[in-house]
């Protein structure tokens, strides 16, 4: 077996070990690589910057723990920025797991007394029914979520006063990892009502969301963990996402290196005369 043949049959566990090392190393020893901002992040940030204290934003948490590492840092960074600006937030979810992420975000602010529940922030819970539920909520927010996650009447809450449909929110943000998500919000609510829609998405979903961004149906888009890192830096509070960017860089380099070495080994192995291959 020639060198290139051996290279082609390298033990997968060596690649696994290399991946752990290149991702873990920069977490322990950050490299401090510079980060630029993508245009979709800048547009997203600009839309949030336009908001005034007292404005109301709806955040739809349409993701689960399986993809949370890629999208939850976005929710944390954006929520933090909104709270700093004095913007009121209503959380809702069309994914079963969503409401617990809202609880994670709200709890420290409620415990410290920085926010008052029902006045500054509310968790409307999980509304089952996928696309139909999104449409129903989009057209009749309080009617579709008559009680919050803990069974309190939403109609009497100060934050929900004057909210009939999603147009009454200054901005609607969908943090999403699949379906129902961006397409459902665009088709069922943004199209018919013309709401101001921003999306924070796992990076896997980004290519499919781009036609909506280019058509102006989605005003701004955060792209996965990198989008979260960019937003953290723009809003002046570097956090968990920015800390992970070095590791992501090295991870990418390893995969690109794997593709290159794998291809070189493949072509060199093919070039070898047959009698040398034994």
């Amino acid at each position: 077996m020639s060198f290139w043949d051996k290279m082609q049959k390298i033990d997968r566990r060596i690649i696994y070990a290399l991946l752990v090392i290149v991702v873990a190393f920069p977490l322990i020893r950050p490299l401090g690589l510079p980060l630029s901002y993508s245009d979709t992040t800048l547009k997203f940030f600009d839309e949030i910057e336009k908001l005034q204290p007292g404005d109301r934003v709806l955040i739809s948490l349409d993701y689960a723990p399986s993809g949370a590492a890629d999208v939850h840092p976005q929710t944390v960074a954006v929520s933090k920025h909104l709270i700093q600006k004095g913007v009121k937030i209503a959380f809702v979810s069309f994914w079963e797991a969503g409401p617990m992420f809202a609880e994670q975000i709200m709890q420290p602010y409620l415990d410290s007394g920085e926010l008052v529940y029902g006045e500054d922030v509310v968790n409307l819970g999980y509304i089952p029914g996928a696309n139909s539920a999104i449409r129903s909520f989009g057209f009749d927010c309080v009617g579709s979520a008559p009680k919050d996650l803990n069974g309190k009447d939403t109609a009497s809450m100060p934050i929900m006063q004057g909210i009939k449909d999603c147009r009454d929110f200054d901005v609607v943000i969908d943090f999403v990892m699949g379906s129902p998500g961006t397409a459902a919000w665009v088709q069922q609510v943004q199209g018919p009502l013309g709401i101001n829609l921003l999306v924070g998405s796992v990076v896997v979903e980004v290519p499919a969301s781009m036609p909506f961004v280019q058509a102006g149906q989605v005003k701004g888009l955060l792209q996965g963990l990198r989008g979260a890192a960019e937003y953290e830096l723009l809003s002046g509070s570097a956090g968990i996402a920015a800390a992970g960017m070095d590791a992501q860089s090295l991870g990418h380099l390893l995969i690109i290196g794997s593709i290159l070495v794998g291809n070189v080994a493949y072509f060199m192995s093919k070039k070898q005369p047959k009698n040398n291959k034994q």
Binding site: D140, Q214, S249
Partner: protein, 209 residues
């Protein structure tokens, strides 16, 4: 009755939704139907659990191989449900709230996160073994992927400052063009399928009656 009523119900529900789309303001039957859909969907959440209880309950009762795993599954299912029911029945009791959040944060979320995270290992192994530039199409795909990765990772900017620019063009222009073609095609397909469901020609979702 077993065939005609479901088809009629499908048609009626679909027509109510469709009329609403062309009606200014809230079409009252749609508002009511939407609430019904939410209630029906809430009930359906439990169907998977009933299935799990049937299958794993039988495993435990007949002590089949791996019965302890099935037993653990059922214990977890019952425990989480009990804590959840108590939390939502007595929202003012802090203990249930904290316990429910801990179950979610430390028992349910970590395995889910890792199950998807380990795909990174398979992707890295596959990129070494399987992604070969065997044809022009495969080469184009690989080059696009590599440029996008370099453009998105901060290290790519250090290697060549144009990587983010090219990567951005690939995503914003080339990808949008391709995705839009797919989206338009899928929307036409979706339109036809929806029409077939409404007219009772498509019955797969009803068990092929």
């Amino acid at each position: 009755m077993r065939k005609e009523i479901p088809i009629a119900l499908s048609f009626l529900a679909g027509i109510i939704m469709l009329i609403d789309s062309f009606t200014p303001g809230n079409f009252a039957p749609r508002v009511e139907l939407s609430k019904w859909l939410i209630i029906m969907s809430a009930f359906m959440v439990g169907i998977a659990s009933v299935n799990l209880v049937r299958i794993h309950g039988a495993n435990v009762i007949s002590r089949r191989k791996g019965w302890f795993n099935s037993f653990s599954l059922l214990v977890m299912l019952v425990a989480f449900t009990y804590v959840g029911v108590m939390k939502y029945s007595y929202p003012e009791v802090e203990t249930w709230k904290v316990l429910f959040q801990n179950f979610y944060d430390y028992i349910m979320s970590p395995p889910a996160a890792v199950m998807y995270a380990i795909i990174a290992f398979y992707v890295s192994s596959a990129s070494y073994r399987a992604f070969k530039a065997r044809s022009v199409e495969a080469t184009v795909l690989l080059v696009a992927a590599v440029v996008v990765m370099l453009g998105k990772a901060p290290v790519g900017e250090l290697i060549w400052s144009k990587f983010p620019v090219i990567s951005s063009w690939l995503l914003n222009v080339a990808n949008t063009t391709g995705q839009r073609g797919i989206m338009i095609g899928a929307a036409i397909g979706g339109f036809v399928t929806s029409l077939r469901v409404l007219l009772g020609l498509e019955r797969g979702h009803l068990g092929g009656v």
